[in-house]
Subunit: 227 residues, 5 copies
């Protein structure tokens, strides 16, 4: 079992082992604690680091588990990055950068033109929601990341780069709640929604179009944002 | 009364008893503190654990009460799970997993086609809200979990698995606020809502349909999400 | 002046007096600290309690002021209840229970059919909002709690129990902002809102109905939720 | 330079000077620390106060700067008030009360009837938003506090007290974003919004009314709440 | 390596070096710690400062890195400003002021008149969203800051100062999600949204206007606010 080390990081006291502090070969901590050159001790004999004491909790955690495991909604990511740079902990920097790249902030809009099923009179006493298509608008790469195989790209004429914005994607299924769930799983939250009905006209509905269904047409639009 | 133990968990100090630490037979804490082999003490004589000091609060709590009782909106569940794995506390892991399974994240949409009661002219000076049916859309299992006996599934033709999405459920009653309360009790929050009116037409209303009631028809849709 | 006591509650240190600890005759603290039987001390001579150290802050506060005074938005109520049960502090349990009973979670919907005043042409250049009635829907007891004397129940035909849901209450006044303020004061927050216009018709407006006012008719609905 | 004092407030340790503690002549702290009668010391020689240790941070801050300067979104105002009452610090009580009076909670609704400018065909390819008037509804005093000189009260017939609710105020300008900014500056947040279009009619538009502009008429309503 | 200093700031203990404390020539800390005149020590020999102990964390951080790096959503900015004034740290004051000036609070509204593409019957089975123009309303300077080169100002007749409000800006592209992303990147959040449809009319659609496209016309408006 490795020797216990008492640390004073900017006034906050931590206890750990030399083994933990030496985990990362290329880090400043390895450099300092392998030779012990340049290290000073406080009046109680604790090794002293002139850095923020609170964030060192996650530095130590990373050295113990080789994983960066931050609280949900952690609000000091930028500050932690600065500390990791100071300590030359490339593993932490990679994690923070990797997360930012794989889950970039952005916005996806989901819309549908809907109505209700009125068709067979007398029979269908409950009129259920009827969606035509679920439209997906946003950055191409982000739409693909969220919807994967359920995305239909066949009607998007510009086969350009993934940073392009499109409003010509739609889903292969008609379950809006499944689309919501997939967005939610990828860290998007519903930030706003609007609905609108349609205008009536003096003209007769086209043949084959149910007058009631026509009357209930509406467009609902849902804006999802990932921070 | 059991003997007092002073602990130094990564620099945070706890005081408890051996009795508490030995509660879980298969845990690492039982293994360590029953034999005391492999345990080291810090310079003040406290037993030392090279782990996160803050999360140990809930580990200790669990050992005292045999229950996992986390703060409302606790944001370090994933980190706590990691600690429980390290300490081999299957009781905590079961709680975290069990909660995730019984209350999975997801989305349920509630919609209604509504109008106002105009019928008896001269008499009813107040026109109250009139709902046709409360429609329920979402994953089958989740809709059942929330609405139980108040759910009418009779018009859903696909009697498939509970992971299927449906938009053909509705409620046996017409009190939208009761539906909201039931969703709220199960941890869903209202994330967005949209309303739309209907289109007018040049045609006369069908016999038996009140013109005013027709004119006020609208569809309101409410999206509930559980994180 | 009472004697000072140093406490070690699960590793967190508190200082108080015997007088404070003996305030509640039927509590475990009174039992322990009046006889001092069964109490142990830590290595620094502090009395030791093998319980959560953080929540003890509110336990002590209650003993000092005989009032439970928690932070706004306190997120450990369930955990505090557990501690109060352990310490047999019925005063705290009564407070937590009482608050839950007098302010149960729930949902109230406020709706209004509105338009604008167009009547006297040439004169009224500003067209103000015109509400017919403010409709109130929700659990009977909760509607009464919030709106008290301003609630008109005369058109609710089912004079049933207070747990019933109703959609036939309305307010005696027409100031929607006053309704919002009353809901807000009782801890409800606006969780969602939807608006819809009305459908036009080929028919002439009824005699006495202003065509413009008719055209601007809309229904706005506001969902308030208390957690 | 004044003498240093070490304090133990309910177990939390503070260091300050006698000069700071004696700042407020009529306070309990002045009474206690000028005579030192009735003061006791803990085992380390720190002066002991049997009160909440965490909130004392703001008590001390106030004594140093003669100002109450709380964190944004501070959630223990009620608890701090209780402490200030105990310490007889009328300056703090005045601040808390003053803030509550000058910024009472409440609700203001902003609405506008809008359309788009279509007039000069061929020329104006972009159709901009066209607002008629920005309507302001809420408690008279609160509307005045927020909108000051930009408020037009000329059409409000009831020149009653400031606690009255009105729906007959409007703004002297037509920039809805300016209204939003003024509400935001006074601590109101946008809690909900609804939109609705208008109904069509078989009748011809009145002379001078643009048919397109007529068709796009809508009413948008924004509810702002201050906690 | 510089000499270690132990500090007691209002009861919170920090450890740092003289080198760090002397970084800012014109600060009170430089004045105090270069001469050590007027400095007092507590009973443990730590240098004592009679100021808030918690906020000193960020003061020290700034001295170490010459950068102000606050947690995301930091809620004590006003309190930190007060401390920086006391310590005469103009670097921190400049940062706080600079941020407030470059990112002032405010409101921008984004609106669009939309419909769906119906044109080529038989071919286009999916009807995609069709936007006319994305309208931008708000303070001129703020709109420019957010949208930069993508903003079209050509139709704004008042070439006044940047503090003016305008509702005559629009974007050079038609991707609403790109507009949302740009607002989001600049710290605006979506605070509310409303939609409305259009009124029908008895008149025939103008030549060249698709009847279906006409019927689905709607106006959606999104309010973004930066705190």
């Amino acid at each position: 079992m490795s020797e216990i080390v008492e640390l004073n990081v900017g006034g906050v006291h931590y206890t750990t082992t030399f083994e933990t502090l030496l985990q990362e070969k290329s880090s400043l901590l390895h450099e300092l604690f392998s030779s012990k050159n340049g290290l000073v001790k406080d009046s109680k004999g604790r090794y002293f680091l002139d850095r923020d004491g609170v964030l060192f909790r996650y530095i130590l955690d990373f050295l113990r588990d080789k994983q960066l495991n931050l609280p949900e909604g952690f609000r000091e990511k930028q500050r932690l990055q600065k500390e990791a740079e100071y300590y030359k902990l490339s593993g932490i920097l990679d994690c923070i950068r990797g997360e930012r790249e794989s889950r970039p902030p952005g916005c996806i809009t989901i819309g549908y033109r809907g109505s209700f099923q009125f068709g067979k009179d007398g029979l269908a006493d409950v009129k259920f929601r009827k969606l035509s298509r679920i439209l997906v608008c946003g950055r191409v790469a982000q739409c693909r990341e969220v919807f994967g195989d359920t995305l239909n790209e066949s009607r998007d004429p510009d086969h350009g780069g993934p940073d392009r914005y499109t409003s010509r994607f739609f889903l292969k299924h008609c379950f809006i709640e499944q689309a919501f769930d997939m967005l939610h799983e990828q860290g998007f939250r519903l930030a706003g929604s609007c609905g609108s009905g349609t205008a009536g006209s003096a003209a007769e509905p086209k043949p084959g179009v149910d007058a009631e269904e026509n009357r209930w047409n509406h467009y609902n639009e849902f804006v999802f944002i990932r921070d």
